[in-house]
């Protein structure tokens, strides 16, 4: 159902990190909320124990017109290197070992950035997508928005839901969205939305994070979706993956 001129409700899913249960929970939530299209903002794999299943689901959505961009973990799996820490590197090696060559080639082929109409999709900063800079300050958001040159830049990488917006003087301000509250994001100014992480939210709340963008009414709503987060944790342990993610610290 590719009809980019007439998107009604776009689900923004980022940093899934091979967490199948979290992805399922967000997709079900988005379906119930009436999502008509999906954008996967990178880091489909890495850390979690279900890279193959996650890749399959995303590929299926792409077949139906979804947007997907490459994240640093996807690139690292494709190149078999490139993440900073030793344990992340272990996870990358493991991920390569369980993915078939077709999936690895597909991850390698993903674009760093997708633009359509007034929207820019990128994993990190649109200023230099391949450098994986964190958009975690108003200044970084400003650089990304300037490079994108469109009203809406949607990204991930920073595992924390944030909405940056530009004032009339050109300065960016950061806003911590309240889950479930639709925020008007008029195209008259520029916005950088960080959807949060589906598979590995960094806030103390283990609920999966994603956002819905209503292009017709120019509104964005950030969501937190609780699910059985101990199930993927058990899989990570069973696979012998490094527990970067402090599952056990969660309630």
């Amino acid at each position: 159902m590719r009809d980019s001129g007439n998107i009604l409700l776009l689900a923004l899913l980022s940093d899934i990190h091979a967490n199948l249960e979290a992805l399922d929970a967000c997709l079900a939530h988005a379906r119930a909320a009436g999502a008509t299209r999906h954008a996967f903002l990178g880091d489909l794999v890495g850390y979690g124990a279900d890279p193959a299943a996650v890749v399959q689901i995303v590929q299926r959505h792409v077949g139906q017109g979804a947007v997907v961009v490459q994240g640093n973990h996807d690139a690292a799996v494709a190149r078999s290197s490139g993440v900073s820490s030793e344990s992340a590197q272990d996870a990358i090696r493991w991920t390569r070992s369980v993915l078939d060559p077709g999936a690895i080639a597909w991850l390698a082929s993903l674009p760093l950035e997708v633009r359509e109409e007034q929207r820019c999709f990128v994993h990190a900063s649109a200023a230099a997508p391949q450098r994986w800079e964190y958009v975690d300050t108003p200044a970084a958001a400003k650089k990304s928005a300037d490079a994108a040159g469109v009203p809406w830049t949607f990204c991930g990488h920073v595992h924390r839901q944030t909405l940056f917006f530009e004032g009339p003087s050109g300065r960016m301000t950061s806003f911590n969205p309240v889950p479930g509250v639709a925020v008007p994001v008029r195209s008259a100014r520029r916005w950088v939305a960080i959807a949060g992480s589906v598979g590995q939210p960094r806030e103390r709340d283990p609920a999966a994070a994603y956002a819905l963008f209503d292009s017709d009414r120019e509104r964005i709503t950030f969501y937190r979706v609780p699910y059985d987060h101990l199930a993927p944790a058990r899989k990570v342990r069973a696979a012998g993956l490094p527990e970067l993610f402090r599952w056990s610290a969660w309630p």
């Binding site: 909405l163 917006f165 004032g167 009339p168 003087s169 300065r171 301000t173 806003f175 309240v178 509250v181 925020v183 008007p184 008029r186 195209s187 008259a188 100014r189």
Partner: protein
Amino acid sequence: MSVQTAGERLSPGQQIDDFLVWEPLHIGAQGILYRATGRDLPFPLLMKVPRLQSGETAESLLSFETEAMILPALTGPHVPRFVAAGDLSRVPYLVLEHVRGKSLESLLEDAPIPPPEVARIGAAVADAIHSLHRQDAVHCDLKPDNVILRPDGEAVLIDFGFSWHARFPDLFAEEERFAAGSVPYLSPEQILGVRGDPRSDIFSLGVILYEMATGELPFGMPDSDGGLRQRLWDDPDPPALLEPAVTPVLQEIILRCLEPQAEHRYRSAAHVAFDLRNPAQVPLTDRATRMRPGNFITRAGRWWKAHVKPLEAPVLVKRAIHAAPVIMVAVDTTHASDERQPAILQATRNMLSLSDEYRLVCVAVVPAPPLGSTGAEGDAALRVEHLTRLRSWTAPLGLPNQRLSLHVLVAGDAASALVDFARRNQVDLIVLGAPRPKQQPLAWMRSVASGVTAHAHCSVHVVRVPERPPPPGTTAP
């Protein structure tokens, strides 16, 4: 942007989306208000169209966007009902309820207004502000122009173009070049660029009360930066100096709203409304009888801070607006030795220990003596007697007067009297005792506790004393 631009006026009868536009009702710097019809709603409409021309474009656009974001999220009788918003990139407009009533500005023509009237109107405005604060919003531009009094006496706040809402991005953040708000009513922290503190609205309310009571503005209409900053450190002339009719209580309330430092002001607009409605309960400080600006040393200290120390905006602590609730405890002063009394006192103490911002209202209901048996004098004596009992009941709590008030209600139906009092005074929580276990279950149905629980507008904490097992060796009769 292909919006309707420079000087373009809408012509009467023009259709915009679902609405027909009629004559302009008000032409302001930020926008034009038109009478509008359409959609067959049970209230009159107006359409607000921003002015997108001249040098103020950015500011009117920001205001328009801000109001279009915040107004739809607000509910209740103290804000105009939102109907529709036009697309900013096509025809920007807002359609909302045209609130019928008198602007507070028009009432000020008769200022100074007698203190009881100032208290009545002021309490209505404070109710409206409290209702807004409870919805996580701060008005940030309160002035008489932005308050409409409905014929039934309720106040409605209008114009949310500079407002702040905890759940939405603040488009005015870091836009220092716009001194958002109206200069005479701005709080000191707003002058320093801090937005989103509900106590800023309490300062503006203080300016409005001052203006109603004296006909003057406490800090005039400063046109210089120094004049604007005067309120960071100075006290205004006490209202009673300008208008001798101003009572010590009213002066106390007004000057407490106008404290330069937010933490010295009222913590909640509901507390202001409470004091305006219950003048006999307002603890008076030196503010009440002051006949010239307060303590010289204090003002000099504030002046030094405002001038010599580098001016920094105080860090805005994102305070929960609900952090200063009013707790009401119903005390049975007729049966002072009732075994439930210590339990109710303990429950009250537990609640108060959660925050030193809680305010306690103690209420005793005394049955009306049979008609003609006593007369007014006897009635007054009864009140004084029960007030004294209330005072000794609260003594163990050790609360300062500013956090405590005592009330004796003479009424036949205790439950209705308590419920009415709680509603009128914006109480957030009622604490009262349950009937004794032995009396249950029939006693519950007839008890004050059940009546209050069923009809109160707020939460009710019912204190129950567990039944003690009979001492060993005794047998039930």
